[in-house]
Amino acid sequence: MKKFIIVQSKAIPLAIENIDTDQIIPARFLKATDRQGFGDNVFRDWRFDKEGNLNMGFALNDDKYSGEILITGHNFGCGSSREHAAWAIGDYGFKVVVSSFFADIFKGNALNNGLLPVEVGPDFLKQLLRSVTDAPEAEIKVDLETQTITLLSTGESESFEINSYKKTCLLNGYDDIDYLLNQKEKIKQFEQQNA
């Protein structure tokens, strides 16, 4: 996993609540056996119409917007456990997703893939969405070390929570599997005691 320290970028606003994993990556695109290429189909049925033409009204297709930060409505990532949702968002080029609330499994999957879910208060979320919509060139800075997200144009800032273990993992680019592999002896002992 790549290290995550600071991301400073413009952002794309997606002011929809309860965006589920079927919208992030529809099931018909889950037939691959590797992790690459899911970004092409992220939000597929919102980005494209039935004939496969770009839907220009959708924020990701709007030339005004760009950046590595996706700002979304409340309860982002509800639905299935498919990690393909986190892969698709990361593969498209996002490094941070901001919302006022994330579904559990999505949040875990994102963290396991170096995609940072930043949970902010509902008022700050509204403020971010408004600023980015009004001034798409506005940059946002997400600093994992200090756990802050700042709207650079105004200096407004909010801090966000992250589990300290996960923070260490992201800052150093470690993942859980490395950690668990080092615990094999303890795990075997546990098995013997509980056999």
Partner: protein
């Protein structure tokens, strides 16, 4: 202070706790399927790590499989590859695979309980959110992402923070025609799709105590739809009777010994929950959803609520419904009885009992997709197949089917489908398809009438 059922099972599986960090939780059973496992197997290869405990892994093919002509080669190249990959990965890693055509094949959350793999007090995971189903046995069961599938492959453990606890009690007697699915849809409609986030839910009260295992599985299955990591119900005589005698259940004296241990898996009277809700069973009626998340549900006799909210309005636009409107009399052309929520024998008994001697409406395409080969066998043994076929229903082969429409079982663009599955998200059952979630009884009645009816009128 006492412990909850959840605490008891969780604490027994903690291998170690990291200071200021997560705990290492031991996983007893790992269920896998073709869609969320290939990248995890690749991860092992990439790291040159071998699978730690292959005999604690069970595999099936379910998400991507056809529900007709399963004996023929799969037409879709990508699906065929994905299944071939699963077969290869299982063979290389000594994993028991119940592939297409195997007598134990079916939806992972249907087969593990019916084979007796799922047992009280276990920890059980699968790369699928509806793993919550197995909580019906008093197990801790939850869905995981593919990175976590790889972690369990490598170590039989996961790094997790202990979730918070919630208890949902439903007390009283359910009205006639109100099924476990209605209880689930009612609770989710009351609490919303994010109420359970960060929590494990225990379902308690006489409604769940009196429920069959099939009904309990339906409720725990849907607990993920309120955002919870999983649901649980304390094991009791109904649970033990269900487990007893199944292929992988402990036998004879071992079984009795296990039961003695399972008896202790009850929430202590002085245990505290982070959060509690209580509902009155007599307020629950047959339910239906009108929107694009499972929380957008109502009693079938009610009208769509009037709310001014952009996401709510977007959802109604997709569904083609108006605020304040009743759904009674709406014509629908598709009915789907299936999915890990409602594809067990009891669900088909309820449907057959209603359908018997009647004919489906001419406009209806009625797809019945049993959850497993064993359910198919049971349907035939009880003669339910002839009831359905005489009524004009289509009885298909087992799999996830139109629940997520990865195979050819897609509801066409713009069509309504009254469905016993668990998710009514936009496009879930096919691009542009509009899903209304219901119980198997309401699904069967819709198929006969060709439109949504107020089933409560027939029941009273």
């Amino acid at each position: 202070m006492g412990k909850t059922l959840f605490d008891k099972v969780w604490d027994k599986h903690v291998v170690d706790s990291i200071t200021d960090g997560p705990q290492i939780l031991y996983i007893d059973k790992h269920l896998i399927h073709e869609v969320t496992s290939p990248q995890a197997f690749n991860e092992l290869k990439k790291r040159n790590v071998s699978l730690f405990r292959p005999n604690q892994v069970v595999a099936t093919a379910d998400h991507n499989t056809p529900t007709v002509n399963q004996h023929l080669p799969i037409k879709d190249v990508l699906s065929r590859n994905q299944l071939a990959q699963l077969t290869k990965n299982c063979a290389e890693n000594d994993i028991e695979l119940y592939g297409l055509g195997h007598e134990n094949n079916g939806i992972i959350h249907v087969i593990a309980p019916e084979l007796g793999i799922t047992q009280p007090g276990m920890t059980l995971v699968c790369g699928d959110s509806h793993t919550s189903t197995h909580g019906a046995f008093g197990a801790i069961a939850f869905g995981i992402g593919t990175s976590q599938v790889a972690q369990v492959f490598a170590s039989q453990c996961l790094l997790l923070d202990k979730p918070k606890s919630m208890r949902i009690s439903v007390k009283g007697k359910l009205k006639k025609g109100v099924l476990s699915k209605d209880v689930a849809l009612y609770v989710i409609a009351k609490l919303g799709t994010d109420a359970g986030t960060g929590h494990f839910v225990e379902f308690a009260g006489d409604v769940f105590e009196n429920m069959t295992m099939e009904g309990r599985m339906t409720v725990c299955n849907m607990s993920i739809e309120m955002g919870a990591r999983g649901g649980m119900i304390a094991p009791d005589q109904i649970t033990y009777a269900y487990v007893k005698g199944r292929d992988f259940a402990p036998k004879d004296a071992d079984f009795d010994k296990k039961v003695a241990a399972w008896e202790r898996l009850k929430t202590d009277a002085d245990a505290a929950f982070d959060c509690e809700y209580t509902f009155d069973a007599t307020d629950i009626e047959p339910m239906i959803t009108y929107g694009t998340n499972p929380g957008m549900g109502m009693k079938i006799s009610e009208s769509i609520p009037v709310k001014n909210n952009a996401s709510f309005e977007k959802s109604l636009t997709y569904m083609g419904f108006k605020k304040g409107e009743s759904l009674i009399g709406k014509e629908v052309n598709y009915v789907f009885i299936g999915s890990c929520t409602n594809s067990r024998i009891e669900d088909f008994r309820v449907a057959a009992n209603y359908v018997k001697g009647k004919q489906k409406a001419a406009n209806i395409n009625a797809w019945l997709v049993p959850g497993s080969q064993r359910v198919v066998k049971q349907i035939k043994a009880e003669g339910l197949d002839s009831i359905f076929i005489e009524a004009g229903f289509e009885l298909r082969q087992p799999g996830c089917s139109a629940c997520l429409a990865m195979n050819d079982d897609k509801i066409p663009e713009g069509e309504y489908c009254v469905s016993t599955s668990n998710r009514n998200f936009e496009g879930r059952q096919g691009q542009g398809a509009k899903t209304l979630l219901v119980s198997p009884l309401v699904a069967a009645a819709t198929a006969i009438e060709g439109k949504i009816i107020d089933i409560t009128k027939q029941l009273n």
